[in-house]
Symmetry: C2
Subunit: 637 residues, 2 copies
């Protein structure tokens, strides 16, 4: 079966991409285009059905369609859909509006919504190629896009679209776990291939060396036996494969992963973070050192690019360096980056040929996109270096339904060396020959089974329209980060204001966030009680979230989070100081409630809606605090 | 936050449901209704945006919309969508047509496609209630529907919509695994609660007793400690939790599950099947007995209701009885049923009050739906008894994207006793109070993280329109099974025919399948070579599948499967005899290729398209075999 030969649309010309044309818009600005494309796609499908053996008998005649039962069934269908629409309108969050600055949500790309809607009618299933000849290749193509985006060699890497980022993280840990167990398995079934290696050395074979060993077992006709003796066949009762090191800012899916995969949550070790909310490299080094001294293996280290709560970017370059250092000392581990949130940010650093830009060239390019040269909107050198180092890790999670601006739910994973799939593959013949349609039988190498081809089509359409570099996603991400910096400046400009007859102070968690998340807190000037400040910010959240009642009536919608001492250590201390809260209070209360805004909209950095949005922000906060204070919850002492 | 109070549409009146009104139809017969509903839903969404703070500034002015970059971006979007549509039309399988009788696919319910398309625009995420106030309750409601469908007590059971059936199976095994490990964990941290029990007894505590023990640890304030000492916290290195027993006909996701969950594929034990392709209960009993003698625990037994290849229904009632017997002998295991395919079949046995019908009453009801009383279209007593016993198992997988006729991808799971969720929950406060919106934070008790609310809406809309009993899904399933029996009869009527100048014989695998799958093989009369017969059926498959080239040109599309001696034992022997293939050939070749048709369409049992379809079937087969023989691949000996 030859691959689909339909013409590939030309990549868009850099200068011409209009971000405004990509989204339906907060006022349904692009409604006419949206409608005309949807009509076209629906027409295409209706005729596709009608044109397949058009002389076949219809299932129902016009006369039957006028009968009572038929009409009654239509009436009920209408009523179910009316009810659905009413429920959606009544309680859905207006992500599309710039008044929403909460979770990782905003408007989604029209091309993706349309692709998803149209493809649903054809109903492909990417579990096997036979059931999805159009969309399985799209999923593989998106995987190649992910790999290119993070800098993996397209010839040896692999990737695909997962049901979500949690599943991508599971998949990475599944691969890492089976890989870690493989050298011990070889030792059991073909000891000659690992002659002279101690069990400790076998548990510390570098991932690349383990994959070479995999090839060696294939040559020696020992692969199936070795696979059977590995965790895949033998399970985890034989040996402890070691610890999973994650920054304390990681997503809770990592605990779920350790549970699900049979490692146990106790194997998860939280590495403290710095006051930039990045994994503390010194503490990481100490942790690994301590484990090495007791010959406790480290199964994997996970770096996070874009933490859920703060958008912090771990220093992946230092992580890569640290791994090399430890490898020289005979200690090795798998290195995964959870860039579910930050992944598409890599587009900011790549030129039209997908080359990673040098820092100076980057600044020039970003200046063209409205981010002032040397200004706070330009990613710092540290962030730039972290992204550059993605090319050197073993796998990366990237979620299209976050900064890929596609609808739920689409995660993604990129693997540096596709040979690793042999450790989880349920197809003996899997050889990864992209000309071979059997290699599109995804169900046999991934965690999921049946999966909607519509989701792959949605991501594919986004990637074909919006290049994964500065011309496309880079431009959107730059606007998003630009919006976050504007927000920080707005907060700084309103550092003291009056509301509810009191002087209110306000502080961003970070003056220069790594990405597009702005956390902040308000306090009554002079209040030194952390509990009191927490109550104030909770009350503001309550007034600006679904807790206040119908969101549709809200003027402003945000999210919140709690930074707990148990996870964050003393990272929030300096932030609290700026708000007038001393160290003793922190030791006592051990948690600080902050408001959290992910600034995903591309509209509030350099567009006509920008001044309007930020000007209204202060007055909305004032009104909210007026009401909160008037309710009597915060009597002046 | 009160639950959504929008009026629930009245349940449809039994007699009135028109199956013909539910689907778009093979000739887009219901195109006008589909279009008008889609237009309505899109209008609703566009205005919902526009009405949210309508005086906010638009992101783009009419003038800007006429600029070159804007228009060029629209042009490119059009071109990407045109390309997508072309690819979909070029290679998608026309599931909707009655000419397609292959995998578990057919047309899908209009109400579900529409619900999915509309909800995608609101983009809810069911991971937390906050992000999906309309669709998280729908997911929970669908879970209650699943539970009611299989007969679980709605007060104590739980369920939800999973990303697919494979994920549902993982979720069941995850629960079973953590449950099995729990009594040993209690022994470790609170031995008084399990005083006098040996390790073997602890590994054989019945699931219900283990959940009572869970409650006891809560009362004794030992639950968090015990949980931490269970597989969830401690992983699987401490003890072998035992074997996973599955029929040899099970889906390959069970091996993946054992790998993923750290048990190891070696723990999977294949139980042989009878010549009805149902799990052999005597062999199962022997297997468990043998394990018990060596004190090898059995973690779980999986029954299958609707095997992928044959649609066979394991005798769940006997499985339940067997479990009780073993329990009396101190041997216990978790009992899961994989009814991914067969689950919605349970609607066939339930009346409008969701009561499971007695066998006689069932026959009367089915006669009203066109299935002849006592005739082969009526499920056998064995199948009826198997479905009735679903109420007594621990959990069931049910896929809406199979016999629920909704688009990909939606699986489902029902748990008999919701207390089991405590063993995988990542929310300390999880108390399952349905009035508490926090209990809608699905991400903390299920395997997945972010998940499309659109999928839950799609299943919910189907369930609200089509009742899960004889009035709704029962009617559709009855038609589907009726179609399968007609197909079997058609094959029997063409037992000998002429094609390619040869006499061809033809045999269904089973004269009375348990569900709606028809497997069959053709042979040259007098040919006693199994390899030759396999080649013939492969050639027919090749001519009637995507392997032949564009499916759009095919007159008939089917799927195929290979029954291998390694998995199936001697189950296919009698079938082969009827085709003139002796036992020696089977011993030698060890595999038989059969054509496989899942008859999902509700159109070919009792509708005007029925005679046309089956009459053309014979002539299409004749033409195919004519061509195959003419190509010279089968010279007459």
């Amino acid at each position: 079966m030859p691959p689909n030969r339909a013409a590939q649309p030309a990549r868009p010309d850099t200068k011409a991409m209009s971000v405004e044309a990509l989204f339906l818009g907060p006022q349904s600005e692009n409604r006419e285009f949206f409608r005309s494309m949807l009509d076209f796609l629906i027409d295409e499908h209706l005729h596709w059905r009608r044109d397949f053996h058009p002389r076949d008998a219809p299932i129902v005649s016009p006369d039957e369609m006028r009968r009572a039962g038929f009409l009654a069934t239509q009436d009920r269908m209408r009523s179910v859909l009316l009810d659905l629409s009413a429920r959606l309108k009544d309680t859905s969050t207006p992500w599309f509006s710039t008044r929403y600055l909460g979770h990782m949500n905003s408007d989604t790309l029209m091309v993706s919504s349309l692709a998803q809607m149209a493809t649903t009618l054809y109903n492909p299933n990417n579990v096997t190629y036979e059931s999805s000849m159009a969309t399985s290749p799209m999923e593989i193509e998106c995987g190649q896009d992910f790999a290119r985006l993070v800098g993996f060699d397209p010839k040896s890497s692999w990737g695909h679209v997962t049901a979500d980022g949690t599943i991508a993280n599971y998949e990475a840990l599944w691969l890492a776990r089976n890989l870690k167990s493989f050298p011990l398995a070889v030792h059991e079934v073909a000891p000659a291939l690992v002659k002279g290696k101690t069990p400790w050395a076998l548990l510390n074979l570098a991932p690349a060396d383990t994959l070479d060993l995999l090839d060696a077992t294939k040559k020696a006709d020992q692969f199936p036996k070795a696979l059977r003796a590995s965790a895949r066949g033998a399970g985890l009762t034989r040996s402890n494969l070691g610890k999973l090191l994650v920054p304390s800012t990681r997503h809770y899916s990592w605990e779920k992963a350790a549970d699900l995969l049979g490692l146990g949550v106790d194997q998860v070790v939280s590495v403290p973070v710095t006051d930039r909310f990045r994994m503390d490299m010194d503490r990481l080094r100490e942790t690994i050192d301590a484990f090495a001294r007791t010959e406790t293996p480290v199964l994997a280290v996970v770096g996070v690019v874009g933490t859920t709560e703060e958008g912090a970017v771990d220093q992946i370059d230092q992580l890569v360096r640290l791994r090399s250092e430890f490898a020289r000392a005979g200690v090795s581990f798998y290195l995964h980056v959870d860039a579910a949130f930050g992944g598409y940010g890599a587009a900011l650093f790549r030129d039209a040929d997908s080359r990673f830009l040098e820092y100076n060239a980057l600044q020039t390019q970003l200046a063209g996109l409205g981010l002032e040269r040397g200004g706070p909107g330009v990613p710092s050198r540290e962030v730039w270096a972290a992204y550059r180092a993605l090319a050197d890790v073993d796998s990366v999670t990237i979620d299209p339904h976050k900064m890929g601006y596609v609808p739920y739910s689409a995660g993604g994973i990129a693997l540096r060396d596709r040979r690793i799939l042999g450790l989880v593959s349920y197809s003996a013949a899997y050889v990864f020959d992209s000309a071979n349609p059997l290699d599109m039988n995804l169900g046999s190498v991934i965690l999921e089974g049946s999966k909607a081809g519509a989701m792959a089509a949605s991501v594919w359409a986004a990637h074909r329209l919006v290049p994964l570099d500065l011309r496309g996603y880079g431009q959107i991400v730059a606007r998003s980060i630009g919006g976050a910096y504007h927000f920080v400046r707005t907060l700084e400009s309103m550092r003291e204001f009056t509301a509810g007859g009191r002087t209110i102070i306000c502080e961003p968690l970070l003056a220069r966030p790594d990405y597009n998340v702005v956390c902040m807190a308000f306090n009554f000037k002079g209040n030194s009680s952390l509990s009191e400040m927490n109550r104030l910010n909770e009350a503001i959240y309550h007034a600006s979230s679904y807790e206040s009642g119908p969101l549709y009536n809200d003027e402003w919608i945000t999210s919140h989070t709690v930074l707990e001492k148990g996870l964050y250590g003393d990272a929030p201390k300096r932030f609290l100081e700026r708000l007038g809260i001393g160290a003793k209070e922190w030791e006592k209360v051990e948690a600080v409630n902050v408001l959290r805004s992910v600034v995903m909209h591309p509209w509030i950095a350099n567009n006509s809606t920008y001044p309007e949005r930020w000007e209204s922000y202060l007055s909305i906060m004032q009104k909210d605090i007026d009401r909160i204070v008037a309710a009597g919850a915060f009597p002046e002492k």
